[in-house]
Symmetry: C2
Subunit: 353 residues, 2 copies
DNA sequence: AGGGTTTAATAAAACGTTTTATTTAACAGA
DNA sequence: TCTGTTAAATAAAACGTTTTATTAAACCCT
C-alpha cells in the first residue's frame, strides 16, 4: 500500500513475497543453476559467459529479489565468515571499548560475530569455546579470559599471559605501565603509595602486580603490606573499588597516593576516600588504569594509565582474520605488545606538604 | 603428549583430530546415517530402536568426538537459532545494559546473536536488517533505532515510537517519567528549570519532550525558551552534555535545576556547571535519565529517572522468542510499557534560598 | 575435410544433516 | 499356512548452494 518514497533503485522488497531460490531463478531465466550461480558470484569461470547473458541474470535476480541462502553456501564452501568473541561482561567500560574496535574491523571485512559473556563462571568459560566452534566460528577472540578448553580454530587473546599453542596474545607493556605510574608519583614527591590489586580472576592482575613491585624497587619505593588490598567481588561496577578503598582506610596507615587496578575501581575508591574526609587530589592522589570513556568526566577527572583498548580490539580482529586466511601451517605472531600512556588529569598532584 | 588432568569424563578432544561426520560415525557402527541421526536427536521416531543400540551409538559418538555440523542442520531444518541485535553504539552505558539483559535470556534458550552498531549512520541503519536476515537470523531486536528497512522476521524495538506492522515496541512510560522528575523538582521548590533535550536521532527525544511539557503545564511550571538546549553531537561520551551545559550558561538566564536527557549528558553538564563556579546540588540540582551503572558512583552521585534497561532487554528477548515459535498468523503484543522510577541521590536537593 | 581451440552452457557431485516412506524380519492370531 | 502387526533399520529425498568435469556448437587453421 505505502508508496516507495525513493522510487528509483529500491525494489518493493515485499515481505510477503515468497523467497526465491537459485533453482527458481534459473528456471525463470531458462538457464541452469550452475550458470546463474557463476554469474552471481562473478566467478572467474564466468568469463566465457557473454555480457548480455550476465546482464539478463542480474536483472532477473533483482526483479525476483533473489537472496542467496547463507546456510547453504556456508555448508558448501565450508566458510561461515563468523567469529566468536568471549568477554567477561558486556556492561563495562573495558570490554565495551575493545568490542567496538573488534566490531569495526570485522564488519568492514564482511564478518559477523557472536558475543558471549561468561561473568567469570568457570563452567561457562570452558564451555563457550566448544559451543562457538560448533556454531562454525572460524576464529575466536578472548578478551580478558583465561581458558583451557580445546580450541581448534585460530584464536587471539587480549590481556592473557599464558603462551598457548595456536593463540596470539595481545598484551600491554605492563612494565612500562608500572614505571609510568610510579615514576610520575615519585616525581610528585609521593613516598607512601597504596595499591589496589585486581581480582584474582582478572588475567592482568599478577603480571601487573609484578611489574609494579619491580618498578617500585628501582625507584627505591617500599611497598607497605598494609597498603595493598585486592578487589574481590566480581560486580562489574565501582562497588568492589569502594570496598577496597574502605579496607585501605581501616588499616589506619597513612598514604598520599593510590594506584588502582582499573578506572572503575579507582572511582569507587575515590568515593570511599571522600566519605572518610580525604579529598582528592589534595590529600590523596589517585591513578586509575585503562582510561575508559568516563574517566575524563569524573569529578575530579581521573589521572590514569591509558591502554589503547579500541586499538587492541582492532588489532585482535586484524590478526585473527589474517590468520584465518593464511595457509594452514603458516607462521603467525605469538605476541603483540602495545604501549601504555600516562594521562594526567585532576585526580593527582603534588604530595601534600 | 600432555596428559589429561581430569582423566575421567573428558575425552582428549585432540584438536588435530580430523572432524568426523555422521556418515563416518555410521560406517564405524555398521549402521545407517538415518539410525544414528534419530538416536542422536532423541527423535520420537527412535522409540523402536532398542536401548542397547542407542547406547552403542552414543558411546561411539563420544569416542569419535562426533560434533554435528551446524550449517548442515540449519540448512535442513530451516532454523538457525540466531537473532540479530542492532544498537547505536556498544560503548555506552545504555546499550550495554540492554544487551546484557538480551544476552542472558537468549543464551539460556540456546540462541546466539549477532550485534551490529550503526553509530547513527543512516545507510547502515537501512542496510543492516537486510544483511542480518541474509545471515539467517530468525528475529531482530532494535535498540533505540528507528529504521524503515523491510523486515520479514519477527522484530522487537526498544524505545521506538512508531507503530510498524510486525514489530513489538517496548517503551518506557514517558509521561510518568516526566511527572516523577518535575513533581520532585517542584516539591523541592524549584521553579526555574533548565532542560537538555536529546539528540534529534534518538528515538525517545520527541516523546520525552512532549511528556515533559505536559507535566510542566500540569504543575504550572513555565518552560523558558532560553533554558532549553539540545544535544547535537553524536559522540557516545559526556562531551555533548558538557557542550549543552555551556550553552545553557551562556544564555545568562538563571536556573536552579536541570533535567537532562540522559545520565551521560547530565555528567557532562555537571562539569560545565562546576567550571562556571556553580556547585551541584547547592546552586543547581541536576537530574539525569536512565540510571546507568556509573550514575551511583558519580561525584556527586546522580539523581536520575531509572529505566529498567536490563529488564527491557530480557523482555525483548522473551517476547521475540515467543513470537518466533508462535504459529505464523498468531496474535502478538504490539506494545509493552515499562515503568520508570525516581532515584534520588546526591546531585539534587532543595532550591537554594 | 579434419583436427584443434574457444565459447557458452550444463550435468552432477558435493557439503552434512533431517525426515519420510519403505523394507525386511520376526512374531502373533486365526 | 496365511494375514496382519510390530520391531528394527534403511533408502532416498530434501535443504540451497558451489564447483568440477563434461558437452555441444561454433570457429579457425591448414
Amino acid at each position: 500500500m505505502a508508496k516507495s518514497k525513493s522510487g528509483q533503485s529500491e525494489p518493493p522488497a515485499d515481505p510477503s513475497a515468497k523467497k526465491v531460490n537459485l533453482r527458481e531463478l534459473a528456471e525463470y531465466l531458462g538457464l541452469s543453476v550452475a550458470t546463474v550461480s557463476l554469474v552471481m558470484n562473478r566467478s572467474p569461470a564466468a568469463k566465457s559467459i557473454p555480457q548480455q547473458t550476465q546482464q539478463r541474470v542480474r536483472v532477473a535476480a533483482r526483479e525476483l529479489n533473489y537472496r542467496p541462502n547463507a546456510m547453504a553456501r556456508m555448508l558448501r564452501q565450508q566458510r561461515t565468515f563468523t567469529i566468536g568473541v568471549m568477554v567477561p561482561e558486556i556492561s563495562e567500560g573495558y570490554a565495551a571499548l575493545v568490542l567496538s574496535g573488534i566490531e569495526d574491523h570485522l564488519l568492514q571485512e564482511g564478518y559477523f560475530y557472536f558475543v558471549v559473556s561468561h561473568r567469570h563462571k568457570a563452567d561457562l568459560i570452558e564451555e563457550f569455546p566448544g559451543l562457538l566452534q560448533q556454531r562454525g566460528v572460524e576464529g575466536l577472540i578472548l578478551v580478558d579470559t583465561e581458558c583451557n578448553a580445546a580450541i581448534s580454530v585460530p584464536a587471539v587473546a587480549i590481556s592473557s599471559h599464558r603462551q598457548v599453542e595456536g593463540v596470539t596474545n595481545i598484551t600491554l607493556n605492563h612494565t612500562r605501565a608500572a614505571e609510568l605510574a610510579l615514576e610520575y608519583l615519585a616525581k610528585q614527591g609521593h613516598r607512601k603509595v597504596a595499591f589496589i590489586k585486581g581480582q584474582a580472576f582478572s588475567s592482568d592482575t599478577e603480571v601487573r602486580w609484578k611489574a609494579v613491585r619491580a618498578a617500585a624497587q628501582v625507584l627505591g619505593l617500599s611497598i607497605e603490606e598494609k597498603l595493598v588490598v585486592q578487589l574481590d567481588s566480581e560486580l562489574p561496577t565501582s562497588q568492589p573499588g569502594y570496598e577496597a578503598g574502605r579496607r585501605l582506610l581501616e588499616s589506619k596507615k597513612p598514604f598520599t597516593a593510590l594506584f588502582s587496578f582499573n578506572d572503575i575501581s579507582a572511582i569507587g575508591a575515590i568515593r570511599a576516600l571522600r566519605e572518610a574526609g580525604r579529598s582528592v587530589p589534595e590529600d590523596v592522589s589517585v591513578i586509575g588504569f585503562d582510561d575508559i570513556q568516563s574517566a575524563a568526566f569524573q569529578n575530579p577527572s581521573l589521572t590514569t594509565i591509558r591502554q589503547p583498548l579500541r586499538e587492541m580490539g582492532v588489532s585482535a580482529a586484524e590478526t585473527l582474520l589474517k590468520r584465518i586466511s593464511a595457509r594452514p601451517k603458516e607462521e603467525y605472531p605469538r605476541n603483540i605488545i602495545v604501549e601504555p600512556e600516562l594521562v594526567v588529569r585532576g585526580s593527582s598532584g603534588k604530595v601534600p606538604s
